[in-house]
Subunit: 437 residues, 3 copies
């Protein structure tokens, strides 16, 4: 009870601006699931939060997977028959298929075309493509540029290395009063894409800073990892630790103009699922709750049956529902400080429910206590109703979140009422531990 998470004032506007600023600095870096771009990204985050940087050698077995070779790229381009640079990695790191093997070759257009990716429906956008686990190479370009290519021999250069090295991820634990943990996980493996998922990386960083400011009921574990292989690697190295995770959120796509969407954990009724449903049900317009499915971001790994961790995912518009997803149109123009700030504030409110929940006992359970003589009687509807609901349901079998859900009142109103009643000696905490502890 009474941890230190605090709801950001002003709809999270300051936080939104700070997140956007952090993202702006990270945006140009060419990240992938391994390599120096990822390392540089984490080292920038480390300026703001005391991140531990982990390195896991290529070839390490992690459950059914193997940590891949490390990929680094210096330059890549395509010269047309006249020697003109028609594709240039330095203009956009999306131009190269991530994990492309080194290439230095001249070939006719026909052969080159087998390695080119474009979006006919969005001819001005560059797609984002990867080939992590199958050795291949390729370029992505605007469809209009593809159409403009003329016949002849092209010189193709990908100055990259794919070699033994390591997989890098960042980890930070904020100790709380208990060892029970809340996991915050963001994938940090995408190159110059803003919403997916620099928004999650940036928001998680600010969130860590915010939560560090005051004591916490829970311990918080932040992971900045490459998607899929990073989550699997962490789980493989932390099987026992993973059992401490009582709630978790995968953060992804938190800056676009859509409204918030929470995807349930595999359990569907875990504390995080209930807290998110409560908070998103109270905001206007209400957020959307979608059922678990074994597709998506790293919740796929956390919610695999051998772990079945209570980890949900929070996004604004879910990936696949906006055309900018995985294209050059997912840039810093696509997102806004306002959306980031709103996401930040709502996520804090969800965590606040977990932090602040508790179960109380009405010390005067027979009939109502006389609120008037204690100065607690008020005509103000919601405030009095919150007092009456807390008294009526504080029989040891209902937590504050239970009471908020049944009454239809906001968790913070219920929490405030409980505080007043406890102060008046009418309520006592039943036992340590609220939702999810």
């Amino acid at each position: 009870m009474s941890g230190g998470a605090r709801v950001a004032g002003g709809g999270g506007a300051d936080a939104g601006r700070d997140i956007l600023q952090l993202m702006t600095g990270l945006f140009p870096i060419c990240r992938s699931i391994t390599g120096d771009g990822l390392r540089e990204t984490l080292s920038i985050l480390k300026r703001d939060i005391p991140l531990e940087i982990r390195e896991v050698p290529s070839g390490t077995r992690v459950f059914d997977w193997t940590v891949p070779k490390e990929w680094n790229i210096r330059d890549a381009y395509v010269l047309d028959p006249r020697g003109k640079k028609v594709i240039d990695f330095r203009r956009s790191n999306l131009h190269v298929v991530s994990y492309s093997i080194p290439v230095r070759k001249t070939m006719p257009l026909a052969e080159l075309k087998g390695h080119l990716h474009s979006l006919p429906d969005h001819p001005d956008w560059i797609p984002y493509r990867t080939s992590y686990y199958r050795e291949d190479w390729g370029f992505c370009l605007r469809h209009t540029d593809l159409l403009a290519l003329e016949g002849g021999d092209y010189e193709v250069v990908i100055d990259a290395s794919l070699a033994e090295g390591s997989l890098t991820y960042g980890e930070l634990v904020l100790e709380g009063r208990t060892k029970d943990e809340i996991l915050i996980s963001a994938h940090a493996c995408h190159p110059s894409l803003a919403n997916d998922n620099l928004s999650g990386v940036g928001l998680a960083t600010l969130l860590a800073g915010e939560l560090a400011k005051a004591p916490r009921a829970f311990s918080y574990r932040f992971l900045f990892i490459p998607g899929t292989i990073g989550a699997i690697t962490w789980l493989a190295r932390n099987e026992k630790t993973a059992q401490r995770i009582k709630s978790g959120l995968v953060l992804a796509g938190l800056g676009d103009p859509g409204h918030l969407t929470y995807k349930n954990s595999r359990r569907g009724d875990a504390p995080i699922d209930r807290a998110a449903a409560h908070v998103l049900g109270q905001v206007s317009p209400p957020g959307r709750i979608v059922g678990f499915s074994p597709y998506g971001y790293d919740e796929r790994q956390y919610c695999s049956p051998g772990f079945n961790l209570p980890v949900g995912r929070i996004s604004r518009t879910p990936f696949g529902e906006y055309p900018e997803y995985h294209t050059s149109a997912d840039d810093l123009e696509f997102i806004s400080a306002a959306s980031l700030g709103d996401s930040f504030e709502k996520i804090l409110r969800i965590l606040d429910v977990l932090e602040q929940d508790g179960t109380f006992l009405n010390l005067n359970p027979k009939g109502e206590p006389q609120l008037g003589k204690r100065g607690l009687y008020s005509k103000a509807g919601t405030e009095e109703m919150a007092l009456l609901w807390v008294l009526n349901l504080s029989d040891g079998g209902h937590s504050l979140l239970d009471i908020a859900e049944r009454s239809g009142l906001r968790f913070d109103s219920i929490k405030k009422a409980a505080g007043k009643l406890a102060e008046a000696g009418l309520l006592a905490e039943k036992a340590a531990g609220g939702t999810g502890r």
Copy 2:
């Protein structure tokens, strides 16, 4: 099984007229939560039913509360600067704030206004106000009359007493075949207000008379009490007895033109909740079922967590949903014998479900018995369906109410079918006790 509660014929029209007549006699009396008006009211009820009158001394501790001083009023008025009686208690007992302390004073209009209450939105209605637990005084008046008051000195007289005495309530127990009780509770503390709650007082009185006519499966306890403090006082003096209450109804607001509304007990699935939902679901137009909330009439006390009694509330239009509530417009014109009679009949039907419910065993459970050879086969849809449902579900795990709920047929059709089948030797009662015993 087979108690004596009986559904009133003719839609309760006779009962409605009788209730209205009783209310008409009680209407002029100035009641409060203590005092002679309440005593006189109970003594009038005692002409019809053998009520026990209880007196609980002022100062008695009842859980978190103390029985207040007794309040009695003889007269009250306000004289304007010209000596004209501009407010006169003898014209309407709503004019004085209930529990006003004695006053005899002259004061300028400006000072007087701090003690005047009116309804700007309903300028011709006198509001009803109380000040039970904070010593104060005041007058209520039509807003039009308030606006007509001219400057100058006013003589204010409240000839009342607030002194040691007692709190009065009426109690009646009709013994049944078991000590399991059904509680019928009506608050009797309001002055000249008809729907809230002379309708409840009047209906409960006629109901006691009706139930007394025949043997009962349950014992019935009727309480005519001042709101809140009366319920708390009864509970404090009857903690052990309260445990016998297996079902209960708070009666309030049963004469207005709206349709019936049942408010669930805190448990939400108690026998009374199911019986009320069944009966109100079968009438046309169907009644409304609303969830429990810790606000309202004395169900607040009965459903406090230390008791959690299975007590619901039955009203027509819930208080707060009709503007006449707690004003002089809640008079004998606002209510009707038809509404009172309809409420009476439906309440009897709800109690009838509790009285008549039971669990039976199909004595020929393998295949259907041959109804034709017993003269039970009929082409009439509902009647045959009731027979088939009772046979099919009388496996010892379903009561008649369960069968009514699942089949969508009326409880009385199911009960009648069970009677016929028992007569034909096809059904036997499993064990004593139906819903709620």
Copy 3:
């Protein structure tokens, strides 16, 4: 697991034609709940499937019932005052009330009319009437023909016999790998009526032929019985065997133009109820699921409380919802090979769910296995989703049907995915037995 039921290709078109052809041969026969018409019908079915014909003597006690006398009819007619045959059994066997006692009598029209049945609302249709358990006689005729009858004496002849004999039914068991049984029951007691229930008789016959073609997980028991008394007789003679029935379907009314309707077993959540809901929920337009009620065909007997067998009923338009029901308009024109074939195919798919269901264990439950390196990764939405759902939910607590229900994917997609994963060594069967075993 992996029984032999197989979904018919081509929407069951061939099966539909075969069923219609069989029905066409059976249509003219005058069946009743006993007698030679029923015997002849069963002997024709025996040409296609190795049916056992059972004979149960008249007078045999079967639970609350007694096997009735056997009824046979040779001829029946009515001659008008001029000697003209105005009703002739040889033109339609519906003209005689089934189980009419022998009559040879002359009577005035007024007396005759007490024995005549017609349909004023459908004046050109002959109704179907019976009098099995009350000795009586009667004729059914077109209402237009009834109105044309002139005054005078009529000669009435019913050349029938009602005498000691036996009740006949057909039974076939297809042994499966287990003794757990699926019951397929069709009533075969109606004279020249096509949808009710030659459609059920014909479909059950083809179904037996189809299921016999390959090994089965379950044993299948087919019953071709007179309605009500036949089911009761079988249950009375097979009380112990009945306990082996893990799922069952009453087949009736499967050839009309309506869509499929499944009526739940009394249990409501039996494997057959879930399998039918799943299959009918996936077809377009979706079939209808209706709740159990103790009225209808022989599910009344199988679902009586002393047996409570998990037996549902499958029909197209339920009886009573089409005016042709139990009239001469329920003829071979009313039904179609297309409807019969569609019913056949969907019923096979429902049985296929029961046959093919099973519970598997993900052998790589921590994180996802790497599908790509096993060639299982595909971009095709449904196929990949099926793989991911099977992996995610194969924790030993979910059967394939559970997974199909939760994922919203078709059972056969889920089954196919499980097969692929098992082949790749990623999945193992947990234990023998799926839904309903």
